[in-house]
Symmetry: C2
Subunit: 370 residues, 2 copies
């Protein structure tokens, strides 16, 4: 079939919206009509050329929601008409990782996904002249129709609006999951969130959901304050306005250090501050942000020997097929908010404007609606 898609022809160039060929689903695969997709910093990271593993030409996008159109042979858990959220972290429920309760990093389709291919080692996308186009993060939600492995789709309730729940495909789950699944933050805890962008806001509402007593937001941009407060931030710290070192300031503010800190900046210096602002004895720092290639974190080992832990999270520690439907429920039940974070809705033709808004810091989330 043919479908409209925004294609990343090469690094550093705007996406090109065009018709492309899409082969139907093979064994264990599913054809999905994407109804809406968010534009995430990770798409930008790859498009910019900064991602050392970026491959081109490719159809980016990994934060979508849509409807099953057709299922390939052997697909049992989905049928045409089902509403789904694509998962860049699959959940096969049978690999060594899925069977270990300590991780969500299913490895079943990992290697081919990293190569921009379906599990059989081929792509379903091609240009009209036959040039193959690669998949991206196993999702390629910047195409109106896309093909995914069955295990890379979370089935969700049908009354949830696509243009909101698409954000659960990455940002919402990453932020809330970091709190609930990775940190397992307890009621009454004190926490610090570094970076008040889309991920940071979701960490904040995750902390509110967990019953945190103090939620400190740290950002150089005071324009972030209003929205962060709305999602539950109790204290704002602008490092540019702190006299002296930031770590002792934050330790003092949190009465001895935070029980949990979260880096949502990707800056390795901030990651160090986040670790060292943790409470002695039990504070845990969770790295969410993606650092530039080759950048390293460092600290004195004394920080760990005296009881701080340094950890990280991918997709918020969520098991996609199991947890994403629950997060959709939480949204529909009003336990979490998404609507105020969807600041812009665009047609596919304007997708590059969505990237511009992100660059300019004007959007929290721009969503493309097909």
């Amino acid at each position: 079939m043919r479908t409209k898609a925004a294609v990343a022809i090469e690094a550093g160039k705007p996406l090109e919206v065009m018709d492309v060929n899409l082969e139907g689903p093979k064994e264990g695969e599913v054809l999905v009509e994407i109804k809406a997709t968010g534009i995430c910093h990770t798409d930008e990271f790859t498009l910019s050329g900064a991602d050392p593993e970026g491959l081109f030409p490719a159809i980016l996008g990994h934060e979508g929601a849509g409807v099953v159109v057709e299922v390939g042979p052997g697909v049992k858990s989905l049928k045409p008409g089902d509403h789904v959220i694509p998962l860049y972290t699959a959940e096969c429920r049978e690999c060594e990782y899925c069977l270990n309760p300590k991780t969500n990093l299913c490895q079943k389709v990992r290697s081919t996904q990293g190569q921009g291919l379906m599990p059989d080692g081929t792509s379903r996308f091609s240009m009209l002249d036959g040039t193959p186009i690669l998949h991206y993060m196993g999702c390629s939600t910047f195409s109106n129709y896309t093909v995914l492995p069955e295990i890379s789709l979370a089935k969700v309730r049908e009354d949830a609006p696509f243009d909101k729940i698409c954000y659960i495909g990455c940002g919402v789950t990453t932020g809330i999951g970091a709190v609930l699944y990775t940190a397992k933050a307890e009621i009454g805890c004190r926490a610090i969130v570094f970076g008040l962008g889309g991920i940071g806001l979701n960490v904040i509402q995750g902390l509110r959901l967990a019953g945190a007593d103090q939620i400190v937001g740290v950002d150089l941009n005071p324009a972030k304050v209003e929205m962060a407060k709305r999602f539950g931030m109790t204290d704002f710290v602008n490092p540019a306005e702190v006299e002296g070192d930031l770590v002792p300031y934050l330790v003092n503010l949190t009465k001895g250090g935070a029980d949990y800190t979260f880096d949502a900046t990707g800056n390795v210096n901030v990651m160090r501050t986040a670790l060292e602002a943790c409470h002695k004895g039990w504070g845990e720092s969770i790295i969410i942000g993606v650092a530039p290639a080759g950048a390293e974190i460092s600290t004195r080992p004394f920080q760990l020997v005296t009881g701080r832990s340094w950890r990280g999270t991918a997709f918020g520690g969520a098991r996609g097929r199991t947890d994403v439907p629950k997060i959709v429920d939480w949204y529909m039940e009003g336990k979490i908010e998404i609507d105020p974070m969807i600041t812009h809705v665009l047609p596919l033709e304007d997708i590059n404007k969505g990237f511009d808004l992100m660059h300019a810091g004007k959007s929290i989330r721009a969503v493309v609606q097909y």
Copy 2:
């Protein structure tokens, strides 16, 4: 009263065995006759002058066992004749730390202990000419008699031999505790232990106790192999004999990386290797060793984002008054071994020989018997 003690007059000098004055126990304090004490690398670290917080003159030693001689006013949990192990990590059971199940770092006497003083801010030791001598790690077990806070003493069974259980006051508990209390290693896990000295051997027997399937020991000294095997090591790796990088070698040996790794070297480069040899998704690396002043650990944050955790432990995460008596029981019941690790027993007069044996790598533990 007067007591015989080995006094550290200044950094870098041998200890001097002499008679010193010891004041009796004040409110909440206990006078203990030390029957035996191990000589630990931490004593050496301070004596050498490398410890930036080292203070002199002081009576070192923190790995002892003895008998209560006299209790000060208000002491309720101990009476003369009780057998005890001094604790450099107290357990008051009422501070914010003791009441948090995530840590063992009781802070009740921490600040005065760090200054070489009793909780009231004074020392009980002095030279015969009246010159004050400082306490060390709240223990000062290199004195035949010493005074400690009640909360810094674990009461243990009376049939346990002092010259063996003194080692539970630091090395045994640090190593076994790192496995059981900090890592909480599960049956069937794979683990790597870096450094096969006294701590490393106890990590190994802790792993055996926990039911680990694979216990890899890493050391540059092949002379360590025999003893490590005796305590449960299943595989030995000498980094000097590995062609290429050590990390992929260890990852391969442990079929994807270790579930738990332990640094018992204090070398920050080894700490990095230990982290990176952890299994993706869930591997945890525990720092036990004390690094040189100012040394820093570093790695790419990707190591954490893909599921590895970096942690540390002090006194093996053990709560002294609660856990040390249990570890003494385990020794008496044959669940753990100590005897083969006590390689030398010396009188106090020969204590400097114990330090020489440690320098020469000839002892696992030299014990002074009073």
